[in-house]
């Protein structure tokens, strides 16, 4: 499965267009990470726990999108976009969407 955020893959032609596919996940932080974050709160700097958490969540959103694309017989997802929104304090939604296509 080829995933890309450009519309035209160099050297490849789209032979069928299968519509939009999407994947999302909502994650909350666990207490341990929150505790570390409140220490960081004083000194500033990167919150590694959150960075990892969001990266894992994003990978999961992509995996769901890819599963959906595979289910409808696509071999590529192009024009992929990501979006993040915090629904309530303490939980974030990661959303990945793109266009499923069959490439030659």
């Amino acid at each position: 499965m080829l995933i890309s955020n450009i519309e035209v893959i160099p050297g490849k032609t789209v032979i069928r267009h299968l519509g939009m596919v999407q994947g999302n996940t909502v994650r909350a932080k666990h207490v341990g990470r929150d505790l570390m974050a409140s220490v960081k709160n004083i000194f500033g700097g990167e919150l590694k726990g959150y960075t990892e958490l969001l990266q894992e969540a994003r990978e999961e959103a992509v995996a769901r999108m890819v599963a959906q694309a595979a289910a409808i017989g696509a071999n590529a997802v192009v024009n992929v976009r990501f979006s993040t929104s915090s629904i309530t304090a303490g939980a974030a939604e990661l959303y990945a969407y793109g266009t499923a296509v069959i490439l030659e």
Binding site: L2, N41, G44, G45, T51, S83, T84
Partner: protein, 151 residues
Amino acid sequence: MLDLVVFSALLASGYIFGRVAEKRHFDSLRRREDELADILAFSVRTAPPYASPPRTRLVGGNAVMSVDYFKRVSGALRSVLGGRVLAFETLVERARREAILRMKEDAQLYGADMIVNVKLETSSITKGNSNQTACVEVYAYGTALIGGQRR
């Protein structure tokens, strides 16, 4: 009285450690940016015509950055007076440069020398919870062109 002592201790340690950490981070950013300077990142939406890579791949990098206690207080004061909030400008800059660097490191792993259609997404993940960490997440992503000849 005790509150005041705790407050000033937090303020002072935030100021000192925050400054040191920020300076160190900016130094490391500059050094790594020089190292990764040959991986080009573009925000154009299509691959340049001379690049005909056999493979493409989605690459990305993210960073969650928070401000220190001193900056949070000075930022809060700023929001009363209005104007440029320098304290938060460096926060977002650090997060953004770090995310771009991580995206480039990811691209380097696959042997890419160019990333096109780079998008940056900024979100505050602890919005609406004022007594919590003030932090932003920046996610940078793009399509790495692997194995094409340059120029």
